[in-house]
Subunit: 381 residues, 4 copies
């Protein structure tokens, strides 16, 4: 399982804050009031799993005066700061678009926000600037589809020229939401066309919840890796909409197939620059255990995917043995890898059962008691 040692998952700082639906955001005891408390929670996930040494930030939610200090804070807790996620969807100016807006001043404001993010990256030591746009329209005619694309290309180019030689711009696509009629980066094809136009340090981010029903996501994984344009994952799972559930919860077999293609494409090789990030909302479930469960799910499905007998698979595929090939996949998926993973953890000084160990650790009770007062972190704060 040496490949498994290469598996590193990036946690989103916002997963530790409150989240919800348009109908209601429930608050919970112990929710962080600051980025420092979020990082502390993220470091806890890593401490119990050994899988999550990186924390992604969201600007402006996680803006601090001194990012270099924040970086040291994180390092002291055993984690590093990762992807910087921009936000151009919560300001009134962005009601009708950000990088695609018809008003040059608004576009420039959005571009400037990304330049600020790039500055932050220098301080935090982050490699990736991730851009997810809420840009889109709700009604036919509201916007000029073509013109919006042209302005998007121009804005992205303006940002990209500030991306450093060791940095990357990662463009995320999303099938729908919050816009209803038209999303400006709705599919991997659009993201791919844009990042190809930008250059080698521009890549695509694949969020597993951002596709139409019936989409074969592992195909897109394989294709983008083949095209050398898969920059990162936003892992989560969903049943119908962008549910942002725990990765692997809705369809573990799909996660298995995705990780199989990641491995097939070299995504877990030592030389790989593929970032595996979570992007989830824990609306009704406990947040820290939710993150622990998530990274364990990724690890578990990775381990099962690694167990596929690829030599036998190739033979079956080339001989047209449909059932035989499928069975080789299923055998790996159905094999209970959990004892082996418990052993893997034990050998590395980690709790063999991270969920139980966290529950028994008293960490949750401590933060519930300590984090009184202040404003709990949530979307928009």
């Amino acid at each position: 399982m040496t490949v498994l040692d290469n598996l590193q998952i990036e946690l989103p700082s916002w997963a530790f804050g409150n989240s919800g639906t348009r109908f209601k955001v429930f608050s919970t005891p112990g929710t962080p009031r600051s980025i420092e408390e979020k990082i502390a929670d993220a470091a806890t996930v890593h401490r119990f799993t050994g899988l999550a040494p990186v924390v992604a930030l969201h600007i402006p939610w996680d803006r601090v005066d001194d990012f270099a200090a924040l970086r040291r804070y994180a390092t002291d807790l055993g984690v590093t700061l990762g992807t910087i996620n921009s936000n151009t969807f919560q300001d009134d100016d962005y009601k009708f678009g950000s990088l695609t807006h018809t008003d040059k001043a608004v576009r420039q404001k959005a571009i400037d926000h990304h330049l600020e993010c790039i500055e932050i990256m220098a301080a935090t030591g982050s490699r990736d600037l991730k851009i997810w746009l809420a840009d889109g329209t709700n009604y036919p005619g509201q916007g000029d589809i073509r013109g919006r694309q042209d302005r998007l290309a121009e804005s992205l180019a303006a940002i990209y020229q500030h991306i450093g030689p060791d940095q990357r711009l990662v463009l995320e696509y999303k099938f729908f939401e919050p816009a209803t009629y038209m999303t400006d980066v709705p599919d991997w094809g659009t993201a791919y066309a844009h990042v190809t136009a930008l250059g080698d340090r521009a890549k695509v981010c694949l969020d597993t919840g951002h596709h139409a029903p019936g989409t074969n996501i592992e195909f897109i994984v394989a294709q983008l890796m083949r095209l050398a344009k898969l920059g990162s994952f936003d892992f989560n799972s969903r049943f119908y909409a962008d549910d942002d559930l725990i990765v692997g919860a809705a369809d573990p077999f799909q996660l298995f197939r995705i990780m199989f293609e990641v491995i097939r494409g070299g995504g877990l090789d030592k030389s790989s620059d593929l970032a595996l990030m979570l992007d989830q909302c824990h609306n009704v479930e406990a947040k820290i255990p939710g993150q622990i469960r998530s990274v364990l799910n990724v690890q578990e499905m990775t381990a099962r995917a690694l167990a596929v007998d690829t030599d036998a698979l190739t033979v079956a595929q080339e001989s047209g043995d449909v059932l035989g090939a499928n069975q080789i996949m299923m055998d790996a998926f159905y094999t209970d890898i959990r004892p082996a993973l418990a052993q893997w953890r034990g050998e590395r000084g980690l709790p063999t059962d991270p969920m139980a160990a966290f529950a028994e650790s008293g960490y949750q009770e401590t933060i519930n008691a300590e984090r009184i007062g202040g404003t709990q972190s949530s979307w928009g704060a």
Copy 2:
């Protein structure tokens, strides 16, 4: 167009408040701060269209001390108070369900809320209690599907026994959201099974945005009318999720087909008790014009549906003339009925172009100037 005179549309009070997505709620000038201001806006829609004489309320958002006074206030403005919509999704107690909750105390609280709504109905003169439940679960295993149904049936029965002889309980179904894995009333079949078990005064509410992709909604309309169980519509339109867009905006031909089945089933007969309500969110578009456009869309598609030559259609259908039958439908849909509707309005002393007339009326400018301070109405207030 005498049938057209029977068309009355109920406006939702909440359409005049701010709404949005989980990512952002934009506020707009002139937004009502109270139910009285919402009613004033709704009455304005009616004044310009002659189509919307009823305002639906949402409890607790629209709770007042004196509902009888509110009723008089509405009457003075030329509208009446309509459906009472309950709310069991914004209280922390309801995190894991309301009428379906495993905790009897929570269920009783939710039942009591509906009994309060029934009391309000007496004061407002409302006929319908509409129940939309956010109940559901996000993860497999989180709840016992079967047990939740049994508790739902029990809770509904407890409410139904308080429904007066001239009142109705209307149960709405919704395919998804806010719950992600399982919704307790996800489809018309479930709503139908429950209201059938309750009795004659229990009906189904069909929200046009609450179906899976590819669902033939007019079929459900026809079926529920055939079963005498279609109580009301929540009109809106959508592209993928429950977008709550202006009815007819996403697919006007679908609205035409729906209204054709409504007419086919007697829903616009004088004796019909079918309620036609809007349930929309105006996130980025102007609210009052958005409601005006909505009721005009319903009227226009109704008028086009009334123009179908049903005798010729029957002949074509019975002779297997697929293209001929389809063409009869399309001819009605493609005929520009707007001049006739302008004349219809003129004859009734209404502005022939309600959208233009409202824009020129100065109403919006007045409320923008007057409604300063206070808290704008929105979801949850």
Copy 3:
């Protein structure tokens, strides 16, 4: 695992014939030319698995002169004849409908076909008459939705009155295909409304591939069992359309959840009258091994569903422990039950690895050599 001993799966005779898409039907060596050869293959599946003692027939595809003789033939091979499936979709008369047709003569022809099926049931000892209708329309206006429902109800009633006291009419619903605009029995609600109107011996058939994207199928299972109206399953799996793939192949976790609800609703109790049938097409994979794999998948997911610690689950559910409840489900799903099932098979004198045993048995080679000439069975023959 005593409950597991109650698991009996019904095989469809047509799974052993050639099948395909509208683009191409591939033929394969050894394909049966007669119902006797299909039964021989089905009996082989049972011999290797101990799970499939019943064979469903399709009329007219499987029509013989002497059904009593066919019954004895089956018995001699160790299987019995099961559900009789009617066919009203391959005759030119049915181009515009069968039980719903506007022409009374066509309706009567379709009714008479079902009466013939009921006569066959007497000879074969079958309990269930399964009705799947291809009825529907391709274009808006082509048919009168409401009138078609009324005629359907009338036709079903005419058939139902011939259903014997120990027989059942099972009505299958299907979301789409072959009709494109409107399907006359598109959802479980429609099937439920019809069978409820018919009487106690009318039930619903749930085909796992006949739902819109995002539909929670286990919810429908739970609901129909609660309403005592789930008559049978047509098991298969799908990615987007009605793919008729091997059950459990596309989403084994979904099959696990379905079987969990079947068990929860008493569907594997000794007293249960729920029929578990396969309805699949083996277009590119080997047919007999495809059926073996299918019944093993049902057994395996049933065994995993039986492993759920339901007492602990209830505690977690009632305490709002979302992650805990989910983990209990996942623990059962992730546990490798295959060794226990191999033992179960061994104890019953069955091959511990049925797939391997069949491959080594020489059966396929024998039928490949013997079944030369004649017309291979396929859709329509």
Copy 4:
């Protein structure tokens, strides 16, 4: 309406043959038995509409000994031969793929078939070679997703090098069907990546029925035109699957929006090389009138799209007037353009009502009487 004069639609020869679903292909009187009869029918559509001067061929279905003679035959009837459509899905060799097959011999056979198509193009004077691949897999593991892409790229390159300087290779994508788990060219992104790798004379074909639910097709139109890679349309409409219904039948507003983007992108300019083709199946409706209705639908929605006041639209868009912008679109869509089109036809010596004129022409009765005996054309012949 000078732009409207540029509208030319290509008819598929196979639309005049019988087609159906996997369940049943209905035959109809007058169905062509040869490509000559198909062309005669296509020329008839053109004679009544003035819109369809080109006929696309399908090889091998339309293979003849002397394509030059066929070309003269078409010219004599007033039409030309257009796109050559290859077929690699009806030969047993292609069971597990054609251009993507693991077996080099099968790939070469498929490549050679395309080279034959290119030779035919020389004889027929066709510009476009259209490649739609049925390649894909039904089960996870059946094929190596990545390897299949690599082989596809290699095969396409082998074909492309034979594409003449005035010819084009047009690659069609399809979301699903006939393969169920994975389609080798499932989305526009994949087609775009491949044709970009090939060169300037490789383009994408957009079939309007080949997308996931909820996909905004006009966005893809706008994007591909922006990228200068939209080669052609396969027009049809659908409700859920690839229904191949008459274009505009399922959602005329969508067709309007698509044509709006075609115009916006210059697709109806004199210099445009965009091919507008139909790809439909007339399963239950009359074939020739079905094609007439189809081209009229395209013309009608094009005319409505041309009626959009684009200057006013831009003003509304740039001022954030969502409702105003939408209304400008809807005004054009709702305007009854049919009288103007009747006049347009009259001025050009065409029947003002092509559907009625065809019905009265006696053409159908003549071919019904004449085309007796022989084998009716259908899929596969």
